[in-house]
């Protein structure tokens, strides 16, 4: 199963509910294209909900970083929500915890955008 991305708007924050696998190929390109599309349409506050993402390989991690950079360069911010234990471990190994803001409560995460 590749990744499925569902967007919803909460105030001025775009919440991206992701499900499936973000891996080399279709999964990572779908994520990249969605982020670029959102930025081109004016979104600057994004919260990526990874609760239903079962797997991210290093290419997928690279796409998360690329998405972070794309949004940051546009003057916005991309934050992460509901990481599984395995994804938390990957962010620790890769030291990306120092880059991303990570939350396990959506309301709390949304509040930080205000």
């Amino acid at each position: 199963m590749s990744v499925k991305l569902t967007m919803r708007q909460v105030g001025d924050v775009t919440v991206i509910d992701a499900a499936g696998r973000i891996t080399l190929g279709e999964g990572s390109s779908a994520f990249r294209d969605s982020i670029k599309d959102l930025v081109s349409k004016g979104s600057r506050k994004m919260l990526l909900n990874l609760a239903e993402v079962s797997y991210i390989d290093s290419s997928g991690i690279g796409e998360l970083v690329s998405g972070f950079t794309t949004v940051s360069n546009a003057g916005g911010s991309l934050k992460l929500l509901n990481l599984t234990k395995r994804i938390q471990d990957l962010l620790q190994i890769t030291k990306l915890y120092t880059i991303f803001e990570v939350f396990d409560d959506e309301a709390a995460a949304l509040a930080t955008f205000q």
């Binding site: 080399l24 190929g25 390989d57 290093s58 290419s59 991690i61 690279g62 796409e63 970083v65 690329s66 972070f68 950079t69 395995r86 990957l90 190994i93 890769t94 030291k95 990306l96 120092t98 880059i99």
Partner: protein, 149 residues
């Protein structure tokens, strides 16, 4: 104490297409064998992940998806260790020339994390240049010993 890997284990020695299908099928096969060998679920996940990264490197960076180049996959059990070797027919690479993915200036790089994760997820890794100039990645995971029943 008994060897947890049962006698039905069959070594694998195959040459595979340089495609993303090979990445998926190899990861799935390793997960099956890891379970067969009695690896706990988390260890099996980590081994499958590491092998996936090695095969991605072989397909994408080594063989560059060439239809004329193969990925050599070797899976064997040696005592209480499961060894997976992934070899490509590319031009090789110098790991020393790779930037440190944990260096502050590299944290936002889009790629370059695969080998670091492989090292974190298996017990031993050897990366060498083959005689033909490609890259061979040998990964080993220790199997758990179980009491005889």
């Amino acid at each position: 104490m008994t060897d947890p890997a049962n006698s039905s284990f069959t070594s694998i020695d195959q040459y595979l297409e340089s495609s993303l299908d090979t990445v998926e099928s190899t990861e799935n096969r390793v997960l099956e064998l890891a379970q067969q060998c009695g690896l706990p679920e988390e260890d099996a996940y980590q081994l499958g992940y590491a092998v996936r990264e090695a095969v991605v490197n072989a397909v994408v960076h080594g063989n560059r998806y060439s239809a004329n180049k193969k990925v050599h996959l070797l899976i064997r059990k040696q005592g209480s260790t499961l060894e997976i070797v992934v070899e490509d027919e590319g031009q090789g690479f110098d790991e020393q020339k790779q930037g440190d993915p944990l260096a502050e200036e590299n944290l936002l790089a889009q790629s370059g994390r695969g080998l670091m994760i492989i090292r974190a997820f298996v017990d031993e890794v050897d990366i060498v240049r083959t005689e033909a100039g490609g890259t061979r990645v040998a990964m080993r995971k220790h199997l758990p010993a179980t009491d005889a029943v």
